[in-house]
Symmetry: C2
Subunit: 338 residues, 2 copies
Amino acid sequence: MRRSTTEVLERTRVMVEPALIEAVGRLHPSLALPVRYHFGWIDPAGVPLPNPRYGKGIRPTLALLSAEAVGAAAGVALPGALAVEIVHNFSLVHDDIIDNDPERRHRATVWKAFGAGDAIIAGDAMMLLGLELLLDRPTPPRVAAAADLAGATASMIAGQHMDMSFDRSGEVDVDLSWEMVSLKTGALLAHASAVGAILAGAPEDTVHRLRTFGLELGRGFQAIDDLLGIWGDPSVTGKPAGNDLRERKKSIPVAVALASGSEAGERLADLYAREHLDDDRIMAAAALVEEAGGRDATVVAARDCMRRAADALGGADIDPQVAGELEDLAAFVVERDF
Amino acid sequence: MRRSTTEVLERTRVMVEPALIEAVGRLHPSLALPVRYHFGWIDPAGVPLPNPRYGKGIRPTLALLSAEAVGAAAGVALPGALAVEIVHNFSLVHDDIIDNDPERRHRATVWKAFGAGDAIIAGDAMMLLGLELLLDRPTPPRVAAAADLAGATASMIAGQHMDMSFDRSGEVDVDLSWEMVSLKTGALLAHASAVGAILAGAPEDTVHRLRTFGLELGRGFQAIDDLLGIWGDPSVTGKPAGNDLRERKKSIPVAVALASGSEAGERLADLYAREHLDDDRIMAAAALVEEAGGRDATVVAARDCMRRAADALGGADIDPQVAGELEDLAAFVVERDF
């Protein structure tokens, strides 16, 4: 019987969280502190929090489902689920330093709570820990999973760097923005959606279709994230309203608006060239992005991604019930409020 | 015939440098820029430098010799030599941000030239690139080398974090300082000194003895580096005189002096507790470290490390000529001016 997204996310929490706590325990004690803090298990002084949370667990859920999608037990995917969650969180810790973000999930970011030095090194340790979990007992499927993770992480890093370059340059091409999104967000979600199948020894064609599902989900996810970065409710996103505009991010809606050739797009470019963006100018910028069609185009694009994601799951080798659960999860990711 | 250290270092340059340039070329072009700058091949604008240098190449030389030590061709070690050199340089790029060092090898550090964000992400990309070079074609020896590199890198990171904690805490234990050095500097040199043998499929006992050689070499190397950090000639080290004292580093000579129980040690502790260390106070601190025996003890300890390193190479499985070349290289590392 097809399980609800709530059920599969809860199942992930039960399977992955204890293993994640154990894996983080392998770090040197002083290094584990900022990592445990980042995952929401403790406060900066090391005191356990009453209701620990580490995020929704989208990536490990994809990993577990991708094993079941090819007929294997979810447990086969566990090392991959842990590794991808840890590597994803490494990227959050470093990105928060780079983007100068003071808050994440309504809490001070690691660099804000522990200093940039600790945040850099905690992130380094997390990236390595993820790879070590797969290389520990190097069976051929685990080695293949580790190599896939390393490649996906390298793509993610290249995407983050493209994003930074966009922020510094005057113009941005919409196609290049999508390429950046494919690398920055898509690559790791593509890995997450395939790693269970890789660990289960599934044929390359099946792995490829699961990877495509994850890539399109990632593109859709980032498009929604870009919308939330402008119009998201701060009490939900944990970030100040209009944060991406304040940071002059060339996100997808902004790139579309700037490339629209409309008057609103030109006025947006003028605003982005200003020394300082106060709250009034940020509200004006958000309205201009919408007027220039950036909001609607991004919503449509996100839905197209979801359709392509679902299409990739068609085929005899993927369990149709699990395919349905993967589609539900994708819808859950897209249908956040914005 | 036993080759001179100059010859083996030059051989490394000829074998490794073109492969290193090619490996860095696998990075996304915008990411490759700060990496190429770091290696000394280009200026910050991307213009090639007339006399490119990337350091002495101690680690790749150890890697190549460790293959020859077990009777294999040096080329067997090449992917390991590249990987360890790249991972070592990742650590330099991140450490320079963490330590707030503006200069390295008489040039602006990557964060100083490109900003901390680019330096963080360039370092991340370098760490991954090193591992990817070994995981690319995952034969069992390459997978073993990758796992060994990941473990050594994790140790190095833990050591760097211990070092940072020491800088913040009032007291430091001399034994703990040596443990920190074993992790921070020893682990990666231990890997470098064994990876060629791992890639050649040498027995574990032989790999272990080469690893011990590298660990002791690393401890000796760091002891000398600590001496250079206080008494080194700025025109040789590329860092301001007394830099480690200005940063209040609890390096080995300082830890020995602080733990000496002498009057000089107490006066040093008082100086380290001051708000600001001007040049006069740094000169006074250096004199106190020497008076408290920190300098002599560190010189003696460095020589003991070198003796243990040489002892580890005794045994039928290690080519005696190559063992001699490894010892010469170790001596070259220790006998820098300070």
